[in-house]
């Protein structure tokens, strides 16, 4: 372990007395300020050093799968919002991609661009929240206020696109809920400029901050082999030095037409994870502008009356639209993929977010499984904190971005 090299001079050495050291059991949570959400961490410590750890989760198990199985293909989307509630749009996109794979349809290009644009905004919001909360737990409250302010701007864009701030319900099977609203482009350009400023400012505040570096450098380094064995994906795997990003390695949607770099770290410690996230935010901001520039005109939904719901003007304006709407929302008449199964994965805020859907030819999923990226991260945490100080539990926990809704589903 990296901290072993430092020598700590304690009271015992100075005063030349024997202080009996006892093993102590310490329980943090389930309701603990530094644990985002409810999770229980139990550690055994000798002095200040963690010798054993265990994590109990499940306090937010909301039966995502069972609930989706009782829904239609389109209505299950609302439950995907609530998985990773910091970047809900990426969840929406992943689920819809899996359903579209089952149906064998492709979304028109404009729809894909719109999805990608808003996904990247969502990713920025996710990383902002993560780095902000992580540094707040180390004492940098001002920096947290900066990121929260910036997150409001992300929410403004998201709100313009879909009308909600957090639980977005943005995509539909075969497209998105509505076309790009008027004035969207100016809003996005404006906000991206402001977001850039905040990211830079945050960088100046934190990245070379002495206290921050002391608290994070060399904490719980993860080697690439270990990271793969643990099942890491996303920023943590990239911080360990493996450039595995699904947007690059298995390009989906229109990511092959965008220009971005995949940042990687070298040691995989907490500082590297932070740096990777900071760089990813910059990349995402540039991707947003590229999407705006390249977005082609055209429809955002597939032109298929059996899949896409009619426009509201038609529903209220003429009988065909009304009948179409009824057909799509009625029991036994909606979207019906053939029996089969499909897996689709997207790059979520924390890593590879996969959906595994099984259809029995019915109105809704027979099985709807979400592979949550932070689940293996939390699993590995009990090994990542052993050997470190008790105070290091907090930065490690902050760096894995524990999102209860996603881990416990």
């Amino acid at each position: 372990m990296a901290t072993e090299e430092k020598t700590f001079v304690g009271a015992a050495e100075v005063m030349d007395v024997e202080i009996p050291i006892q093993e102590m059991f310490l329980n943090m949570g389930p309701s603990h300020p530094s644990m985002h959400g409810v999770v229980r961490t139990m550690v055994r410590i000798v002095g200040e050093r963690v010798v054993w750890a265990d994590i109990e989760i499940g306090y937010l198990h909301r039966a995502f799968e069972k609930q989706c199985e009782a829904q239609f293909w389109n209505t299950a989307i609302i439950y995907t919002d609530r998985l990773n509630y910091v970047s809900p749009i990426i969840n929406n996109v992943g689920y819809c991609m899996a359903v579209e794979k089952l149906l064998g349809i492709t979304v028109p290009e404009r729809g894909e661009y719109f999805r990608t644009l808003v996904s990247e905004v969502s990713r920025v919001a996710d990383h902002l929240t993560n780095v902000g909360a992580a540094v707040m737990e180390l004492g940098a409250f001002t920096a947290f206020l900066y990121t929260m302010k910036a997150r409001e701007w992300c929410y403004e864009i998201i709100e313009a696109a879909c009308g909600a701030r957090i639980t977005t319900n943005f995509t539909r099977v075969g497209g998105v809920m509505a076309d790009v609203p008027a004035g969207f482009e100016e809003l996005v350009r404006d906000r991206v400029k402001q977001l850039r400023g905040v990211v830079d400012e945050f960088d100046k505040l934190m990245t070379r901050n002495r206290i921050f570096i002391d608290r994070t450098r060399g904490i719980s380094p993860v080697t690439p082999e270990k990271a793969v064995a643990y099942g890491f994906t996303g920023p943590l795997l990239r911080a360990a030095g493996i450039p595995y990003d699904i947007r690059r390695t298995h390009p989906y949607s229109i990511y092959d037409q965008l220009d971005f770099v995949v940042p990687t770290g070298t040691t995989g410690d907490v500082l590297d994870r932070y740096l990777v996230r900071m760089e990813e935010m910059r990349q995402s901001l540039s991707m947003i502008l590229q999407c705006l520039k390249q977005m082609p005109p055209g429809p955002v939904n597939v032109m298929d009356k059996l899949i896409t719901r009619p426009l509201k003007t038609n529903v209220y304006g003429n009988i065909e639209g009304l009948m179409n709407q009824f057909k799509l929302v009625m029991d036994g008449h909606g979207i019906k993929p053939d029996p089969g199964e499909a897996w689709a994965s997207v790059e979520g805020g924390n890593g590879e977010l996969g959906y595994y859907l099984v259809s029995d030819g019915g109105d809704g999923p027979y099985k709807c499984r979400c592979r949550a990226p932070s689940f293996p991260l939390v699993q590995a945490m009990k090994e990542m904190i052993v050997g470190h100080m008790v105070a290091d539990v907090i930065p490690v926990f902050g760096s894995i971005n524990y999102i209860a809704g996603e881990v416990e589903r």
Partner: protein, 176 residues
Amino acid sequence: MQELPEYLSVLKSRFGDRIEEIHAQHDDATAVVKRDAIVEVCAWLRDDEKTLFDLFLDLTAVDYIGRKPRFEVVIHLVSIPFRHRLRLKVRLDEDDPVMPTIIPVYPASNWFERECWDLYGIKFDGHPDLRRMFLQETFVGHPLRKDYPIAKRQPLIELRKSEVRRNDESVEPRPA
């Protein structure tokens, strides 16, 4: 039926009839493996230089109630160097839902197996710590099985009022 990727045919020829079936529906390469061979297959897939499936993604189960065999354990793997994906399936009988653990090959599957035990009641032979993952220890039954009613709650403390909602019968799962 789409064209099968090469590694799938290699897998089939390597293990012969211990692979029950291979197909690639919707471009997802899939192999159905016999229960006793799964650990060996995983180890081979991870280490052979033609496959190198080094990253374990997911392990879950599907309950095909009324079918024989009833359960299907589904494992998803990905290879970082080759960028290909694979789905492995193991079919398990209702009377004997036991599968050997794959922790020796993929340590990351530890919690996934616990989750599968918790929600589907599938036992993993050789798992070091097979406890419930999400639900409380006192929970009876395995809720994601299709025969567990969706709104059957098991409170831990005395409740102040009833939890039944007005439209509660509408949340029953659709008939399969």
